[in-house]
């Protein structure tokens, strides 16, 4: 589920919460893409610190946003707390493409680097 969007200068932060599966991923994809386009910001941060569960639908969601953002010349970074999601992010190849940060503020700094 989408909790909120945060305006962080040249980066848009999408704060997600709860469970990301096939059902929730399609709705998230649509809302994030619309907001990212309207914001006219180059960078996107997905804050996953309040995400309690994620399966391969979440991997598809992240890699899809990575493709969109990088093709528009921006950077994508993730905020991930603890080890819960790390295993699936590594297996899905996300950690090879995207920087993982402990909170959204550091993820924004990473985008601006």
């Amino acid at each position: 589920m989408l909790k909120e969007f945060i305006d962080c200068g040249r980066a848009l932060v999408a704060v997600l919460e709860g469970e990301i599966d096939q059902r929730s991923a399609s709705a998230l994809r649509e809302r994030i893409d619309i907001e990212y386009e309207l914001s006219r910001k180059p960078h996107l941060v997905l804050d996953l610190t309040d995400v309690t569960f994620m399966d391969s639908a979440g991997i598809g969601l992240i890699i899809g946003r990575w493709k969109n953002v990088t093709s528009a010349g921006g950077k994508l970074a993730l905020a991930v707390a603890g080890h819960k999601l790390i295993k699936i992010l590594e297996l899905g190849g996300v950690t090879r493409l995207v920087k993982l940060c402990p909170d959204y503020r550091r993820a924004v700094e990473e985008c601006l680097r």
Partner: protein, 137 residues
Amino acid sequence: MNNYLKTQFPPLDINESLARGMAAFFILPLDPSVEDAEDVKTAVSEAVTNAIIHGYRDRSGAVELELNLEGRELTVTVRDSGAGIEDIERARTPMFTTRPEEERSGMGFTIMESFMDSLEVESAPGCGTAVTMKKRL
């Protein structure tokens, strides 16, 4: 401890969370580690999503979830009577997806394989699919 649970539900996406929730509650008396519980939930979610999305697509039918516990060995079977898989080996290849336009990662079987101790897939076109996974908790 030996126990089993056999259940059926329609191929609706709201039932993905129901299925993984049932699996999590089923193994709870064994007091599994947080990681093992997450692994089981994720693997069940992948198998049930496959049955709904690829097995039935938008057609009606029933997804069967069977959980069996013998001591600390969990066996999960997810069965559908849907489309079936033409080439199982190809379907199990990491990043392979028949529907790239929907941003599917093609990691479903890879996740089931990695998060559980074993994975068996039985399927034939038009005859449905049965996925059996085992994990020692």
